[in-house]
């Protein structure tokens, strides 16, 4: 039953992404200033939104673990952090490709890019730390605390655009640089599509962690016997 739900969500997500690709590539016109390269935005912006959602869920699950000591929360924190790192990677890579074409460089030490990279490093550090701890409850406790520390860095990313001089393009969904309605709709449509794909991955990872816990407890029983 659960397996079929995961497959259904994955198919729905992938189907929606393909449909959005059709809209973005074949129906929307090229941008007046940027030409065809602006289409990266349809993945770039939803990837950052999704990463944001994922880190919020990971933070909530980590706090949930510290309160309840239930390892299921730890598994959710791990799975959503992995999804967050994947989305952060998509955001960084798509941004870099756009930068190469629009600015002529792959990378610039602009404040927002730097902060995004710092976030990526923080959550990658969280995943590396987990591999260094064997005992499950110790791993869950220590990584939950690290998750909270990592999250405290996020406001710095958020406010960095105001605190530092930046050459990242200004917000395009609101404010003065606002884009056309059809384009905005395509950005918003791609967000839930990517979230569905991510949800399927997270559910799959939760299942894996559950099986891993079962194997661990069986192994302990065998050793005790």
């Amino acid at each position: 039953m659960r397996k079929s739900i995961i497959i259904l969500i994955a198919l729905l997500g992938v189907g929606w992404v393909v449909w959005n690709l059709h809209t973005v590539l074949l129906q929307l016109p090229d941008d007046a200033d940027q030409g065809p390269v602006y289409r990266i935005m349809f993945f770039h912006i939803p990837a950052w939104f999704s990463a944001g959602i994922a880190v919020f869920i990971a933070l909530g699950s980590s706090i949930g673990y510290l309160i309840t000591k239930n390892l299921k929360y730890d598994a959710v924190a791990l799975a959503t952090t992995e999804a967050a790192v994947a989305f952060l990677t998509i955001g960084l890579v798509t941004g870099s490709i756009w930068g190469r074409i629009s600015w002529g460089i792959w990378w610039t030490w602009d404040a927002r890019l730097t902060s995004a990279l710092v976030c990526w490093l923080l959550y990658a550090g969280y995943l590396v730390l987990r591999t260094a701890i064997e005992e499950p409850s110790q791993r869950a406790r220590i990584s939950a605390v690290l998750q909270i520390f990592a999250f405290a860095d996020i406001p710095i990313v958020w406010y960095s655009i105001e605190w530092f001089r930046t050459q990242h393009p200004g917000p395009v969904l609101r404010g003065s640089g606002e884009m056309d309605g059809a384009m905005k709709a395509a950005v918003y449509a791609n967000w839930p599509a990517l979230m569905l794909v991510a949800a399927a991955f997270v559910l799959l990872r939760l299942r894996q962690e559950e099986v891993k816990r079962e194997i661990d407890s069986l192994r302990r029983i065998v050793h005790a016997g």
Binding site: L66, V118, L121, L122, G125, V128, L129, A132, I133, E134, S137, Q138, R141, I142, A144, V145, L146, I148, F149, A150, A152, D153, I156, W163
Partner: protein
């Protein structure tokens, strides 16, 4: 009142243990001087260039030197199960943490106090005119470094790859704090008044306050469980 007495006891115990063996401070000091020397081989600095990279150079040296002190902070309690005895003592984990963090602050400030004159001589930089503002920046930056570092030292004390994990986690989390310290140091070494870089000072104070509060809140979870 008892909290501060416990903090004082841990602080004096750690300082006494370090002053008797001098193992961390000696290593940290030699390492700092070696990096200062090595940088001079990397490029031939002119006076103008030195002023531009002085803040970055100094704080990279301090961050590297700090890890040698911080790695020993909790690890020195491991032989003879001293850490378990400390945790079982009536002192709360936050008092133990604060005592250790203050001890690390003083040790690192001592290393930095030697680095500054050496840096001034090696790179022909005059900093004495800005002594008090520089002292403020150095104390605030070093407190950020030690409070996050002491917390992560507690976080990684019982895990595999402790020596690798501490710098990995510390440097990424410290990036905003180090950035602010570097900007302020460059600003001051250029002869500018502190008031014109007030935004960075506020940023650094905010960073210190956030991470001190987080560390004091969660150190009990990390050490006791």
């Amino acid at each position: 009142m008892t909290f501060w007495r416990h903090t004082w006891t841990v602080l004096t115990k750690d300082l006494r243990a370090e002053l008797r063996t001098k193992e961390a401070v000696n290593a940290s000091f030699s390492f700092a001087i070696t990096i200062l020397l090595l940088i001079s081989f990397a490029f031939d600095p002119t006076e103008e260039m030195t002023r531009e990279f002085s803040g970055g150079l100094l704080w990279i040296v301090f961050a590297f030197a700090a890890v040698l002190i911080l790695n020993r902070s909790y690890a020195r309690e491991l032989p003879n199960d001293c850490l378990d005895a400390l945790i079982a003592s009536p002192a709360p984990a936050s008092a133990i943490f604060l005592g250790k963090a203050l001890s690390n602050l003083f040790l690192l400030l001592a290393v930095e106090a030697v680095c500054f004159p050496v840096f001034g001589i090696f790179y022909n930089v005059r900093w004495i005119g800005q002594f008090w503002p520089l002292l403020l920046v150095v104390v605030l930056g070093t407190w950020g470094l030690t409070v996050v570092g002491t917390m992560f030292s507690a976080l990684t004390v019982n895990i595999r790859l402790r020596e690798v994990m501490l710098p990995l986690l510390l440097y990424t989390t410290m990036i905003p704090g180090l950035l602010a310290s570097m900007q302020l140091t460059v600003h001051l070494l250029a002869g500018e008044p502190l008031s014109t870089a007030f935004v960075w000072l506020r940023f650094l104070i905010g960073f210190d306050v956030i991470f001190t509060a987080l560390a004091l809140t969660f150190v009990d979870t990390v050490l006791v469980g």
